[in-house]
């Protein structure tokens, strides 16, 4: 073995773990990297069962892996993506990484000693960097997905995402034959409010209004910003009577208390249109929006700051008499 002077020191300096066990899974070798990370001395551990030396190894799993390497004389692998680590070891970047233990890629290889006895050699690569990047990526994707759904100013759902949810809920209600209602509401005289207090004043009212409305909704309701000062709420499993109650409460929550903006007290109100799903077919959600919109139009026409429901059969915007 004329290359001993090379392989010996390199093996000791390697920043990967090298571990060898015999057919009885007794430790034959641990390189310096593993000894230092695990605080296990080869001189003490040699000849002992691997599962005694490293007590928290996934024993059943590892036995099966090693058995396949010995029996089939072919390599076996473990990736941090499926199993974060095989041997629980600290890593060297506790400051820059959120994970506590070293993520590992392991390769298990068949190895025969000079007398032909079969061994398994396990190579352990530190994959903590990849693990950390992957986690960052996932958090970022989650944030991105969230911001893709939400209206930046009011934190209500944005129109695109809200409409997707409406469509899904309508399909679900049709399939399970459950009631579903839609509220569309609009801040009264928003233009006038913007002219009087400036756009910041208008924004302030929108933010306060959505916060009050959100407090009155269930987790299963979908609240979205439909347009500038127009909002929609999908009330799942709710018939018209229940939806009217919610709408009245929302209407009152807005008008009963003024919004404070730069020492101004801004009095505002909303008009609400309510409709219950009764159409069938693929365009049912559009029909429902149209009906709630008609009701909203009538609420405006009747003098604002009120709730009006859609009556079956109405086919055009009409002024209710009386």
């Amino acid at each position: 073995m004329s290359d001993d002077w090379l392989t010996g020191p390199i093996l000791e300096q390697l920043s990967s773990g090298v571990l060898v066990v015999d057919e009885e899974f007794q430790l034959v070798y641990l390189n310096t990297f593993l000894q230092r990370h695990s605080s296990v001395q080869l001189t003490e551990a040699k000849g002992k069962s691997l599962f005694k030396v490293f007590a928290d190894l996934p024993e059943a799993w590892l036995r099966r892996k090693f058995a396949s390497v010995l029996e089939l004389q072919s390599p076996s692998f473990s990736s941090w993506e499926q199993r974060q680590y095989v041997i629980k070891l600290p890593h060297l970047r506790p400051v820059t990484s959120s994970s506590q233990y070293m993520a590992q890629n392991c390769t298990m290889l068949p190895l025969n000693d000079p007398s032909g006895r079969r061994h398994v050699c396990m190579l352990i690569e530190d994959a903590t960097d990849a693990f950390v990047y992957q986690q960052h990526l996932q958090t970022t994707l989650q944030k991105l997905e969230q911001s893709n759904r939400v209206d930046g100013l009011t934190q209500a759902l944005n129109r695109r995402y809200w409409e997707e949810q409406l469509k899904l809920e309508v399909q679900r209600a049709q399939r399970y034959q459950q009631p579903l209602s839609l509220l569309l509401f609009d801040l009264d005289k928003f233009k006038q409010l913007n002219d009087q207090y400036g756009h910041l004043g208008g924004d302030c009212v929108l933010i306060e209004l959505t916060a009050r409305v959100r407090g009155l909704l269930r987790d299963t309701d979908w609240f979205g910003r439909y347009g500038g000062e127009e909002f929609g709420i999908v009330l799942t499993n709710t018939a018209l009577a229940g939806a009217m109650e919610v709408a009245e409460r929302i209407c009152l929550a807005v008008s009963s208390k003024a919004v404070t903006f730069n020492e101004h007290s801004i009095q505002s109100s909303i008009s609400v249109g309510v409709a219950q799903l009764d159409a069938a077919g693929e365009r049912a959600h559009e029909v429902l929006i149209g009906q709630a919109d008609m009701a909203l139009y009538n609420a405006k026409r009747e003098g604002r700051n009120r709730v009006v429901s859609y009556s079956a059969g109405e086919t055009e915007f009409q002024l209710k008499t009386n």
Binding site: R64, K65, A67, S68, E71, L72, Q73, S74, P75, S76, F77, S78, S79, E81, Q82, R83, N105, T107
Partner: protein, 203 residues
């Protein structure tokens, strides 16, 4: 560069593959403690560009998975082995290997099964031509998370030639089918042709 095998080379390759499959099934049987029957595999040399379409037809209807593993040997023998199967099929031998069939260990099971199939078969192939192979860690693409056809298109365009090996395993009480694809780059095809010629001459 000719990527077409002569009839002699082809016959020789088929013979090597038959023997390799025999060796693999013997090892698998001993490991799984059950009788393993592997049908004589049908091999076909195809242009890599045709692969995605072929497999889309076969695998797009059900949930499928693809496991890829690179291999590297002496004399310029190298390539990428891909095992494709329907997930439903994979569950059947998962039980034999003692895995839970929950989602968490499913990927691990897929990599293990594929790695065993690939490495036992390729080791058997290498043994016959006095070669030895080293392998990269297997990577899984599941149709649940990825578009497999896209992945195949991306992979296939890097390789000249594909050796398609249809494998059908039968274990007692269980049977399952999968496809193994050996993707081989152009210069490695030439090297394989030389290896095959050498073997043909020796007989």
């Amino acid at each position: 560069m000719s990527t077409v095998f002569s009839e002699e080379q082809r016959d020789c390759l088929q013979e090597l593959i038959n023997v390799a499959m025999g060796l693999a099934s013997d090892k698998l049987a001993r490991f799984l403690n059950t009788f393993v029957h592997i049908q004589v595999p049908a091999i076909e040399l195809v242009n890599s560009a045709q692969i995605p379409a072929q497999f889309e037809a076969q695998y797009s209807s059900a949930e499928a998975a693809l496991v890829s593993q690179g291999f590297l040997g002496n004399d310029g023998l190298r390539g990428e082995a891909i095992v494709l199967y329907q997930l439903e099929n994979a569950h059947r031998i998962a039980a034999l290997l003692g895995y839970d069939t929950d989602n968490a260990s499913e990927l691990e099971m897929l990599t293990d099964i594929s790695s065993i199939l690939t490495t036992t078969f390729l080791n058997g192939l290498a043994e016959q031509i006095d070669n030895s192979l080293s392998y990269s860690a297997p990577r899984v693409l599941s149709s649940r998370q990825n578009n497999m056809t896209e992945a195949l298109i991306e992979t296939a365009c890097h390789w000249e030639l594909a050796l398609r090996v249809d494998i059908s395993y039968q274990l007692i009480h269980h049977s399952f089918n999968c496809d193994m694809l050996l993707l081989i780059p152009g210069e490695a095809v030439l090297n394989i042709q030389q290896i095959l010629d050498r073997i043909v001459e020796e007989y």
